[in-house]
Subunit: 225 residues, 2 copies
DNA sequence: CGAAGAACTGAACAACTATTCACGGTCGTT
DNA sequence: AACGACCGTGAATAGTTGTTCAGTTCTTCG
């Protein structure tokens, strides 16, 4: 009666778990959150429906973890971009651009993570996700304020507003469909970044410069996606 | 076999219809969209569940009409406020402030109308609602651009972004709960209006002036609500 | 008043999916 | 190899609500 999981088994279990999460992610990216149903996800992951419940207590947990995963990726990308920037204002511009590029390169998935109706309650994880990302943006705004590049303001509120602007204009239902044209995608990223920077108080002329710099790097990622 | 609806009956039918819509609206305002279920709404409206289907083909139609109704009210308020303003920039500021005040004075309802998950598909009516309101804001931005008060820009994109910023920061899940303090409410309206005006290119100093003016009128509405 | 049509009722129905669980297969220890 | 524990299966279950409809009540008009 002494059964211990061998390293091999542990690895296989972890792989299954990832496969299920990946299947959920793929389903969401392809057909939206409504397509993330236990049975289809299980098929995609090459397991039976019941197996999903060996790894996730409920559908809500599965989707919550999916949301957390995607957020983690995005947060890391934002930090990377911002940390690589030469100064606080550039960092802010880079952070904003990165968010824009990310949501645009995975519009359906982003929409699913952010706001698409789901039949189970995932408000908690969505809230956590936004809080983290808004917090990161707030930090960058704060740095720019302290550097004297921006007027004093409620940075948390500003960060939240910026995220709302990005999401609504790029992945919301009103967002235009310029998926066909890479040039238009870049334009959209730049326009929205410009709006965001001006919103927190960057002067128009300076903002335009920052936007061009910030757009240079992630533009590649966008084309590649 | 000549049965004709008497004026009295027509009026009663219309009243019932309104009662059902009002019941739905109340339910949404009180407990969110999840509470807008046929049976409870019917009880609220003092009719049987089946009766609801004499007036609305399906739950989706009921909710769509609810969304359209609320949007109509908001749109009218925006137009009224903007038209009463002395100039294009003031009009824009007034429009933005009005949206802010409206969503804050009915947070739960606004959230329900805008983005709260619903089990039936209402994307169409939500889209129409946003399109109308964003269009109105776009018109005001355009006017300010043509008056030379703002730099040239994609007004539709800008309007969408502004709405996103307002909604996310005031009624989104990350919005702080300052329902308790009227002063903080006014602060929030002003802060967000300021962000919005700067976003489209109003200079900081001028924007601050516009915000104070625009806040003066609707502030009363907010206190009254 | 009475017949015919319209409106209303609310209990029964239907459809959709998350979740369960008894069974069979696989893995680890002795 | 044998045994026990765990892992995987997928058909059956269950709970939730929108929707229907046969019967009842109300309204109109000859």
């Amino acid at each position: 009666m002494v059964y211990r999981r061998t390293h091999q088994v542990v690895k296989r279990l972890a792989a299954r778990r990832s496969a299920i999460l990946a299947a959920a992610r793929d389903a969401a990216a392809e057909s939206g959150m409504a397509a993330v149903q236990i049975a289809p996800v299980a098929v995609r992951a090459n397991v039976a429906a019941g197996t999903v419940y060996r790894y996730f207590p409920s559908k809500a947990d599965l989707i919550s973890e999916l949301i957390a995963d995607v957020s983690r990726d995005e947060l890391a990308a934002i930090r990377r971009a911002a940390d690589a920037a030469p100064g606080p204002s550039s960092a802010l511009a880079a952070a904003v651009s990165t968010v824009a590029v990310h949501v645009l390169s995975q519009r359906k998935l982003s929409w699913g993570i952010l706001a698409e109706p789901v039949d189970v309650d995932v408000t908690e994880s969505r809230l956590a996700s936004r809080r983290e990302i808004a917090g990161e943006i707030a930090i960058r705004i704060d740095a720019a304020v302290r550097a004297g590049h921006l007027p004093a303001q409620d940075t948390q509120l500003a960060a939240t507003a910026l995220l709302g602007a990005l999401h609504e204009s790029l992945v919301g239902p009103l967002a235009p469909d310029h998926l066909d044209d890479p040039a238009k995608l870049r334009d959209a990223v730049q326009s929205v970044t410009l709006l965001a920077l001006r919103a927190v108080g960057v002067m128009d002329a300076r903002a335009r410069g920052l936007v061009v710099q910030a757009a240079a790097v992630p533009a590649k990622a966008l084309v590649g996606a």
